[in-house]
Amino acid sequence: MTAGYARLWRRVKRSDPKLWGLVLALILTLATFVVPRWPLARPVYATLFVVDITRSMNVADYRAGGEPVTRVARAKQAVASAIARLPCGSRVGLALFSERTVNITLMPIEVCASFNALQASVDMIDWRAAWAADSNVNRGLVDAMEKIELARAGGALDEHTSLVFLTDGHEAPPVNPRYEPDPAILVPGKKPGAPGAAAADAPPLHGLLVGVGGYTPVEIPKYNAEGERIGVYEADDVPQAANFGQPANPEEIDGYVPRNAPWGRSEKLGNEHLSAVREAHLQSMADAADFDYLHLDDDAAFYRAVTPRAWAEIRERPTDIRWLFAALALVFVVLVHAGTVISDLRRRARFVFPDHPSRRSVS
């Protein structure tokens, strides 16, 4: 017995490292079949994407391949590409914003199993689904926060669900800030004691406001009931200033008459018929709601913004680790073959140049 082992050991000692390189590579390649998956802690996300489908989102101030692209199309593309990149196990739901309401159209579903359906659903988002033509983004945000809170309480959404709201921030008609709900009330612990405030110990809602649109105000296209374009909104087509309720600071209003003209008597001139992304407004809403803000430029930045570490739920999932074995096997095979090439080159150098330093180093 011992003689047998000794003989084997001698053989191993005498043998070529290249043989062992190849054997290791073979073992590693076979290992891809033995342990293809290993449970690893991976971040997964649950996200509700809200896309603004109001009229101002029809402004084509993005460009793709030289062609003008509307804001809503750009927002859809960003959402679709984020869905494609999210790790398996993540869930995505979709919702539309118009008027003052956010309408959840699809509860979050798993992104890999329902990849096709999700992409098709994003693709079918259409501005014509807007149930009313107003656009009150702040109320939309508050509505979304309320709905998510309600759905979490009812168990329809899990508490990791984060909110990503893509909008240009255009309020139409212009709002009177005095009557606007404050998103901060719905942030747990931010405004304790305020009527309707969220419980201080409620799980926080992570969110992101995404500003969609260019910085230069441009005209908003106008469509008829048949969906044909019939020009653009003119200055006279839209209210140029808020005229609802009582103004917050009457002394600033020219020609203020408390009962008969609380908003003044002069004609209102403005640029409400033009639309650009209203970053300051979005930023302040984001601050109130403890959300992040991002201007939509490229998909990679958007993906990073919707997948911060803090939003992730760490779950142990069987993860494909075959690449690890395959990469090591490849290293060994390549080393074996590269080894022949290198030793041959050295030998040749020694032969051609008898004084080559490698000669000294080798023997």
Binding site: L22, F33, I109, E110, A113, S121, W131, A338
Partner: protein, 328 residues
Amino acid sequence: MNIAFDRPVLLVALVLALLPWWRLPLRVGEHAWLEMWPPDGLSTGIDIGLRIAASLAIAALIAGLARPYIGAQTVEKIARGAHVVLTLDRSLSMDQTFAGRNPQGGEESKSETARRLLTEFIGERDHDLFGVVSFSTRPMAVVPLSDDRRAAQAAVAAAATRGLAFTNVAAGLFISLSYFKDTRASAARAIVLISDGAAEIDFRSAEHLRARFAEYDVSLYWIFLRTAGSPGIFDAPDEPRNDNAKAMPERYLHRFFQSLSTPYKAYEAENPAALAEAISDIGRLERRPLVYEQRLPRRDLSGWVYAFAAVMLVLGVASKAAERELVV
């Protein structure tokens, strides 16, 4: 068959597959005289074969790392089932109970009942394709006709959240009908309209709808979630002066649906049990055989590629292990 790679950049490393063509990693024997070793066909063949094997092993490992897959394929299957578009009313009144109150305590709203029963319905029907449309003032195409049941159920679940505005049945039906534009005619096609109210359909829309239903050969099931005390589909007016579409939109919508050339059936569900019965009826009706296309998820090929690499490596190891030192 469309093979693609997840990480195509890695394919650049395929140049490494050229390495074995320099020389095989076998022992070099030194010989005084070449004439002792005349070239022979068999040796050359084995040499080339081994080089090919080594090359392929490297190439296969790299290809495996780049994660090859066959893109989504469709296969045709024959089944009994239907293409069903669920058309859901999202009007605010759907959030009330069948008694017309806001739900309190353990009570279920109409939309909640509809969600629960439709989710079961979708889950049971293995071979049907489901699409979901929701509508209030305007229609929303939510999920296209597909075999993805979870997506359809998620869309139905979303419809149970707080509703929107009013009921525009015609708009909802138009977009539901548009789902059948591209699907093959072999399937039984059905629209299941779930609403708790009706609205007058204007003449022009009515004519359009009539033409589309005939063109796409779609049967229609209307599940009317009747609230206690409200007028029903089958109610006749007490007075002739109330016999118009404004006063009794349900009755007139029903009459319009009856005038369609395709099959139509109405269910008046006044409570959750009646709704369940209506749904099981529909389940029985649409059982014609149909040819449908099932989309297969993309298939990972790296396993095959690694297996191939392993076989090629076995050849390499065997050749290396078989070498013997030449004792001269």
